[in-house]
Amino acid sequence: MNINLTLIGQSITFFVFVWFCMRFVWPPIVNALDARRKQIADGLAAADRGRHELEIAAKRATETLHDAKQKAAEIISQAEKRAAQLVDEAKADAKGEGERMILAAKAEIEQEAHRARELLRGEVAALVVAGAGKILRREVDAKAHADLLESIESEL
């Protein structure tokens, strides 16, 4: 337990060890720790960002889906409306056409009837004239009795 040169030797050894530790041991380890801490922080931040982006994307997806549904519904309703419109139009067209055809047929019938009447009247007039001539036994001068004939004819 004598105090001797060991005291100084120990101090020098101590300084050498501390210097070595400060130069070669401490900095690489602390740097590695700091680098890892930074990596972990970056990773967590990236994960956070990813989650955030996922949320936004999900929101956008639902919005798009909603829009698409709305648009589809609109299109369907429009199409239904248009179809109804078309049906109405077709109905109206058909009705019009039918009425027109009916009118045309009526007009034709009228015309036919009119023509038949005219024909009959002519024939009846000729028959009347022939009959009158036979009754009178003489020829009726068509020229002389034109007025008479015409008045008979118009009466028929």
């Binding site: 060991t6 005291l7 120990q10 101090s11 050894t13 690489p28």
Partner: protein
């Protein structure tokens, strides 16, 4: 396992004597053969066992840690790196907690102190006779010395030279940073102008001087005292081994119990030395007005 030819007192004394190398009275250089001879060698002698063990243990610590440091990556750490990082983070948080200034020296200093002292203290857990017996055998077999005159102390921190050597080194750092941070005037002012103002200068100097000197002395004596006492108890327990079967078994149980308790002490003492060093350096960095 006390040697049969030695009395208990001789056995204890033998265990408490360092292996000292120095100049003998007849002028030749060599290892001291008796405690008295070692004392006569005076200051210019060296305790071979203290220096040897402390240097080997320090190199062991630096070797393991520099290996880990060289391979340190920010990626997934391996087993050794994990262990080293655990210790480094522990030291780092201690330094952050106690040291408010900015100094790249303090944390590596604290790491070196903690692990070096811990390893030196750890030698205390090696059964007290193993290494000295081995040294006796080597001394007698290889160097032809009288085995009873080969002294060997395994725990460097039970040698006041080692603890004072470290505390003086810390003290020099405290003085250096006190002068550097506070300036010569600031540091001297701190020593002389408080607590009683400039008219109480002698009293101030006395109080502050004692305060300053007490730092390295208490630092060294605390560690030395604890380890010396622990070593002494191990030696006393070891004496029981030669006292018959009952005492030997009791001694074995006691040695085990004391060793378990000692694990706490060696760690605690290393931690206290480290923490106080950080605190003293922190005080050296602070400017009082």
């Amino acid at each position: 396992m006390a040697a049969e030819t030695l009395s208990s007192s001789d056995y204890i004394k033998h265990h408490l004597q360092n292996l000292t190398y120095g100049q003998k009275p007849d002028g030749t250089w060599g290892l001291a053969q008796t405690p008295a001879e070692a004392k006569e060698m005076g200051f210019w002698a060296i305790n071979v066992d203290t220096m040897g063990f402390s240097i080997v243990l320090g190199l062991l610590f630096l070797f393991v840690f520099s290996r880990a440091a060289k391979r340190a990556t920010a990626g997934e750490p391996g087993g050794l790196q994990n262990f080293v990082e655990w210790i480094v983070e522990f030291i780092d948080s201690s330094v952050r907690g106690s040291f408010s200034g900015r100094n790249a020296l303090v944390a590596p200093l604290a790491l070196t102190i903690f692990l070096w002292i811990f390893l030196m203290n750890l030698m205390d857990l090696v059964p007290v006779d193993w290494l000295p017996q081995l040294a006796m055998m080597i001394g007698a077999g290889v160097f032809g010395l009288d085995p009873h005159h080969v002294y060997f102390k395994v725990v460097p921190t039970t040698d006041p030279n080692a603890t004072f050597g470290m505390s003086i080194a810390v003290f020099l750092l405290v003085l250096y940073y006190s002068f550097k941070m506070k300036g010569v005037g600031g540091f001297l002012g701190e020593l002389t102008l408080q607590p009683f103002g400039k008219w109480g200068m002698p009293a101030n100097l006395l109080l502050e001087g004692v305060n300053l000197i007490a730092k390295p002395v208490s630092l060294a004596l605390r560690l030395f005292g604890n380890m010396y006492a622990g070593e002494m108890i191990f030696i006393l327990i070891a004496i029981m081994f030669s006292g018959g079967a009952v005492l030997a078994v009791t001694g074995g149980v006691l040695q085990w119990a004391w060793a378990v308790f000692h694990i706490l002490i060696i760690t605690l003492q290393a931690f206290i030395f480290m923490t106080l060093t950080i605190v003293y350096l922190d005080m050296a960095h602070q400017e009082h007005h």
